[in-house]
Amino acid sequence: MAFIRVGPEDFDLGTEMAALRAAAGDIGAVASFIGIVRGGAAAPMTAMTLEHYPGMTERAIASMAAEAETRFALSACRVIHRTGRIPLGGQIVLVMTACGHRQAALDATAYLIDWLKVAAPFWKKEHLADGTDIWVEARNADDSAAARWQTP
């Protein structure tokens, strides 16, 4: 069973690695991905606020994690997604997977972050340096990234 947490608390990669290892048993590979609030080039940003749909978000992530665990034969899996206001440089999301072989761990991590982008109900608002706030628009590229995991 994947570990899933949605909420404002930050996370430490080393601590999460230890927790993953404790749950995983005999594994050969751990892959992880962390998303970070980036300053951006066009309109400098000072912070971001993540809104979510309590209940549905956790269910959606649990469902995609269960799918990944089966598809990639994972021994353990952790997904943490933060909510609320996160300053520039702050951590937004962690995906961490453990299994026997490297390709499955890397693929499962890519799979989960691609699906999180399009199928977990989160919305990002950017707080710009000039004082304005902008809701981030969804990118078609994210739909394409997730679509590559669809089996015909």
Binding site: G35, L50, E51, H52, Y53, G55, M56, R59, H81, I92, V93, I113, L116, K117, V118, A119, A120, P121, F122, W123, K124, K125, W135, V136, E137, A138, D142
Partner: protein, 86 residues
């Protein structure tokens, strides 16, 4: 009369000035699409915001839905923009 719970997120929530409401729907409102039409009929911000149908997504009882998805009494129906998480 059929009572449902409506949730709004992100810029829909901000522009409607409402995060959550219970509404009693008249007969004939059987789908998410019907509900959107009925909400637009309220006028004001509802008419202005809910016409941007290409930018509005929905969920019924926490499953993603479409305009054709049926709705029933007691349902939790959420309206929101395309997702931008991760």
């Amino acid at each position: 009369m059929m009572v449902v719970r409506l949730l709004y997120f992100a810029w829909l929530r901000e522009r409607l000035g409402c995060a959550e409401e219970e509404v009693a729907l008249p007969p004939g409102i059987g789908t998410v699409g019907d509900l959107l039409g009925w909400l637009r009929g309220r006028g004001g911000a509802y008419a202005a915001v809910l016409t941007e149908t290409a930018r509005i997504r929905s969920a019924v009882n926490q499953d993603f839905a479409s305009d054709a998805t049926p709705i029933r009494a007691g349902d939790e129906i959420a309206l929101f923009p395309p997702i931008t998480g991760g």
